[in-house]
């Protein structure tokens, strides 16, 4: 190991550690009562009939942050598509269908629909109970990849036309932005939640545009996570480069 780097690390680490510890000692004690922004957020959420305050913060009060976050996910998908594209010196080799042990297959095929439904349920109840677009989307996307475990790669590729998921991803981002613009066109403000009635507290349709934005995020996350996983699987299983091609060459 490079000696200079260790010295730098020791000096920098000690300095930062001292700074952070000193700061921790000045922080308000853990579990304190003063959360002015948090209290305001709870009131605002209840005024708009949203039971899950976090959904209200994410999709209403700070929906603009979520727009940025969706764009990050969208950018990462585009980035992975670009970075993991097949280059000229690589070729595809469809993998041999692997023998899957029967219990594993049965387990995976049993869990798959359950996990998918769980994902959708978690998305749909975002503004009521813990969960929402992010969590449900990831669960649904990961569930889909149980197929790889349960059946084989070919089966997975058949139920997973990547183009559709990429389009879903892009459309979900677009619809989020369009919903935001609708607020602007209606004469209030970008991403204003004033278009739809707030509904009855603690029901699926409560909260104005929150369920719609939540659904858009759910679609986006599911699409994005699927595409990401697919590209990595592609690299790990299918794409081979020149050095892997023929050992003797």
């Amino acid at each position: 190991m490079n000696r200079l780097r260790l010295w730098l690390l020791a000096v920098g680490g000690t300095g930062l550690a001292a700074l952070l510890v000193a700061a921790c000692l000045d922080l308000p004690r853990f579990g304190g009562r003063s959360h002015p922004y948090g209290d305001r957020a709870v009131h605002a959420s209840l005024r708009r009939h949203i039971a899950n305050t976090i959904a209200s913060v994410n999709f209403d009060q700070r929906a603009y942050d979520t727009l940025g976050e969706m764009s990050i996910l969208f950018a990462a998908v585009l980035g992975c598509v670009v970075l993991l594209r097949q280059t000229r010196d690589e070729h595809r080799a469809p993998p041999e269908p692997a023998e899957v042990a029967r219990p594993v297959r049965r387990y995976a095929l049993l869990v798959l629909p359950v996990a998918l439904v769980t994902g959708l349920y978690v998305i749909a109840h975002g503004q009521l109970s813990p969960g929402g677009g992010f969590q449900g989307g990831v669960v649904a996307a990961t569930a889909l990849h149980l197929l790889y475990l349960g059946a084989d790669y070919g089966a997975l590729e058949r139920v997973r036309p990547l183009g559709v998921y990429e389009t879903t991803d892009a459309l979900a981002v677009s619809s989020y932005v369009v919903l935001g613009l609708a607020g602007l066109l209606a004469g209030t403000a970008f991403l204003a939640n004033t278009l739809l009635p707030y509904g009855t507290f603690n029901t699926l349709s409560s909260g104005g545009t929150v369920p719609l934005l939540n659904a858009a995020v759910g679609m986006e996350v599911a699409g994005a996570a699927t595409v990401l996983l697919a590209h990595f699987l592609d690299q790990a299983v299918e794409i081979e480069d020149a050095t892997e091609e023929e050992p003797g060459k």
Partner: protein, 585 residues
């Protein structure tokens, strides 16, 4: 009017998402035209808002207007500097897209729109960061900007260097961003707010600065200064900018790095400038020290490069140092000068990168030694490269010269000498390249041991085009004309000064115009640059790398672990520099 502010983010995002949704079937031309229309339209909107930004606007996204001075929403700022940076980013994106019209070939199969979509996302992210008035929102757009930039930097995945540079860029910048988020969490713990001005008020209400304020200042600044490539956070920049595709380099060097500086200015001015924040003397000490270090390291390293894009990247570092010094003195004149300097520098630097891209396209190399005398036929590009060098030196009446002279006057004393020297050295290096590559002057220089050569790069067009596409010469010409216009257009300087001072600087008004000493200093820097370049070309041994520069070059090791260690040292240094006021307060 203020309701339109979030559109500067929303329009490019929509412009990126819709072609991506439809893009699998769209022809390339349709995607590119969409890109132009969207980025140009956003630029026009930004300009329109900028012209209406007196008095400064604010917008609460989602209509969450504050009740009793407190809101649960996110505030977006629409003042001169914010909209100015957004306009600059938009126009430069437009220029980069125009430049890549024929230049950039080989979109990934089935994803025709990927490059254009990423560029539009980049534009939206830069606009969002520039307009952010909420600290966490700034972090989100900071990350969006970074993520897009990593992908764009590594775009040429056939290139070993491109992917390595992109990874280094990604690791260092992400770590910086996480440090920034730690700082935001500390500020939230103290004040319970996320809006920048609300945090500032909260800090002031709490009393004098303590260790918590210092730590949050250091952590937030670490994130921003990593982006601004301040020494010792700067190592990622040459690695990334040297390998990114040329149109992307124009944006990275032209505005992204400057957005880091802008962020530091904005965060200090809004959050930490009050009595509960970091005392002015400490900020001046920290920023001026780091700025001088950055400018010196950038200038020295710039001089000893042979990889032309890397050389330009180091000159960006050197100039960023000058920006930090100008802002660090905390005078209204300093702010005005730097605002003008940033605008002029963006145009000049983007033009220089565009010219380097022509070399890469023609010869598949950006190596000063290998290209010696080979580019004699590219007269127009050579002339523009030389003009760009003069702009970098701050020759009147370039916008860079105007900004530099105003900033020099604000900094005063020995710092003025620094401004002249640094701009002369970086410009001298570019002139030296011009003389060797485009004119073939002097002997072919010898290779050194520890350096990055610029040979063996893949050309960025699919198959060699018959001649240089017109867009690739028009774009740098327009950019240089813009740099000239910034300095020449009557009243532009005062306009910038007024809008900058309205947003910050406590209402003090200064004016920015040419003065006799400023013109003389600009001429002196240019003359010095010409002399340096002439000496380097005719007497290579006189200005060869001295032994003391070798360790400095060895620090740039290309090793990501080293860069992380330096980042930690940088936070410690920043903390030490700002410590005295906190102890005294």
């Amino acid at each position: 009017m203020h309701h339109l502010l979030p559109l500067l983010v929303a329009v490019p995002l929509l412009g990126a998402a819709l072609p991506a949704a439809a893009g699998r079937r769209l022809p390339r031309a349709a995607v590119e035209i969409t890109g132009f229309v969207v980025s140009g339209g956003t630029g026009a909107l930004a300009l329109l808002l900028l012209l209406n930004s007196t008095p400064p606007m604010t917008e609460w996204v989602g209509g969450w207007l504050p009740v009793g001075g407190q809101s649960v929403g996110i505030v977006v700022l629409g003042d001169g500097p914010a909209l100015g940076m957004a306009t600059l980013a938009s126009l430069l994106t437009l220029a980069a897209l125009a430049y890549s019209w024929r230049y950039f070939d080989a979109p990934p199969h089935g994803h025709t729109g990927a490059f254009t979509a990423l560029m539009l996302l980049f534009q939206g992210a830069m606009c969002g960061f520039a307009l952010a008035g909420d600290l966490f929102n700034a972090f989100v757009f900071f990350e969006l900007m970074s993520v897009v930039a990593y992908a764009l930097t590594g775009y040429r995945i056939d290139e070993a260097r491109a992917v390595q540079g992109a990874l280094t860029f990604g690791v260092v910048n992400s770590l910086g961003a996480y440090a920034m988020l730690m700082g935001i969490a500390l500020l939230y713990a103290r004040t319970g707010e996320l809006g920048m001005s609300a945090i500032g008020r909260g800090l002031d209400a709490h009393g004098g600065p303590d260790a918590l304020v210092l730590a949050s200042f250091v952590l937030v600044m670490t994130g921003l200064l990593v982006k601004a490539a301040t020494v010792p956070f700067h190592f990622w920049l040459p690695d990334a900018h040297a390998v990114a595709p040329t149109p992307v380099c124009m944006l990275l060097s032209g505005v992204m790095v400057e957005l880091g500086v802008y962020g530091a200015w904005r965060v200090y001015g809004t959050v930490f400038a009050g009595p509960g924040g970091i005392p002015a003397a400490d900020l001046t000490r920290a920023l001026v020290t780091l700025g001088i270090l950055t400018a010196a390291v950038g200038a020295v390293m710039c001089w000893y490069q042979r990889h032309i894009k890397r050389l330009l990247a180091y000159s960006t570092i050197a100039h960023t140092g000058l920006f930090l010094v100008g802002l660090g003195v905390l005078t209204p004149e300093g702010d005005d000068g730097i605002a003008l300097y940033v605008v002029g520098h963006a145009a000049v630097k983007a033009a220089l990168f565009a010219c380097a891209g022509v070399l890469l396209d023609r010869f598949g190399s950006v190596d000063e030694h290998a290209l010696h005398g080979r580019a004699r036929s590219l007269r127009a590009t050579g002339v523009m490269f030389a003009i760009g060098a003069l702009g970098l030196a701050g020759l009147p009446p370039f916008g860079t010269g105007l900004g530099k002279s105003v900033a020099e006057e604000a900094a005063g004393g020995p710092l003025t000498v620094g401004y002249v020297l640094v701009s002369a050295i970086t410009a001298g290096a570019v002139l030296r390249v011009t003389a060797r590559v485009f004119l073939g002057l002097g002997p072919r220089p010898e290779d050194a041991e520890y350096e990055t050569s610029g040979s063996g790069e893949e050309p960025e067009t699919g198959g060699l085009l018959r001649r240089v596409p017109d867009t690739m010469t028009t774009v740098p010409a327009v950019l240089l004309a813009a740099a000239l216009a910034v300095g020449v257009a009557p009243g532009f300087g005062d306009l910038v000064a007024r809008s900058v001072n309205e947003a910050g600087s406590g209402g003090a008004h200064a004016s920015a115009h040419w003065t006799a000493p400023g013109v003389l200093l600009g001429l002196a820097a240019t003359a010095l640059a010409v002399i340096l370049a002439a000496l380097a070309v005719t007497r290579p041994t006189w200005l060869a790398a001295p032994s003391w520069a070798a360790p400095l070059r060895r620090l740039q090791s290309g090793h990501v672990g080293d860069y992380v260690a330096w980042l930690l040292v940088g936070t410690t240094l920043l903390g030490a520099l700002a410590l005295p006021g906190v102890l005294g307060g």
